[in-house]
């Protein structure tokens, strides 16, 4: 099963999205939050993100949802800390973090491939709310 990692500058945002996505996808779906810095301040931490990816990976790959700016840079740095075989099956979704995470988590929960889960997240970009 593809794992999901939520990277936000805010620990609460990452945890909140994780809780929401888990509610929709079910308890069996692996979703790991990597929000904020270890001291609780706002920011993104490459070490934290790499640990989250390693935790989320069960061999089928990991999709990372990011919020803004340095979340992307920190996530790319985090990939360099991973074992090469894990790094080879991790991708960042170009998607809104909340809707993308929910869509990806539900897709992953039904056994979709990494490419399918990424596509499900990125579909959220075009979703009209009204």
């Amino acid at each position: 099963m593809v794992g999901i990692v939520i990277v936000s500058h805010s620990e609460q945002i990452a945890e909140g999205i994780k809780t929401l996505a888990a509610q929709m996808a079910g308890a069996n779906q692996k979703i790991v939050a990597a929000g904020g810095m270890t001291d609780g301040s706002i920011g993104t931490d490459a070490i934290r993100i790499s640990e989250a990816v390693a935790t989320a990976d069960s061999g089928d790959g990991v999709l990372v949802l990011v919020d803004l700016g340095s979340a992307i840079i920190s996530t790319e740095t985090a990939f360099e800390f991973l074992e090469p075989e894990v790094a080879a099956r991790v991708v960042i979704a170009d998607a809104p973090i909340v809707e993308g995470a929910i869509s990806a988590a539900v897709q992953a929960s039904i056994g979709a491939t990494l490419a399918e889960v990424k596509a499900a997240a990125e579909m959220a970009k075009a979703m009209q709310k009204l």
């Binding site: 079910g26 929910i102 897709q107 929960s109 039904i110």
Partner: protein, 88 residues
């Protein structure tokens, strides 16, 4: 291919949670599952497509199931939708 229509009985229609229930159920079967609501059509294995149907209470939806396990799948959908997605 099996086709069936339903009138949505739960208050909020196919909002987020029922949509997720539909997708998870569709994902458990090999068959292709399509939902039509009004002029919109969704692959039932895609959460955002199902949510984008915007199907409301009282609206009629048409479910099409096609594949090797279509009979079992349709029975499972019958139960889920018949029970109003297990909500009021």
């Amino acid at each position: 291919m099996i086709q069936k229509t339903y009138t949505l009985g739960n208050k909020l229609g196919i909002h987020a949670r029922p949509a997720a229930e539909l997708v998870k159920l569709a994902g458990a079967y090999e068959s292709k599952v399509t939902i039509v609501a009004g002029e919109k059509r969704a692959d039932a294995k895609s959460l955002l497509m199902v949510m984008s149907l915007g199907a409301k209470m009282g609206q009629i939806i048409e479910l099409t199931v096609e594949g090797p396990d279509e009979a079992d799948a349709m029975q499972a959908f019958d139960t889920l939708i018949g029970n109003n997605f297990n909500e009021a």
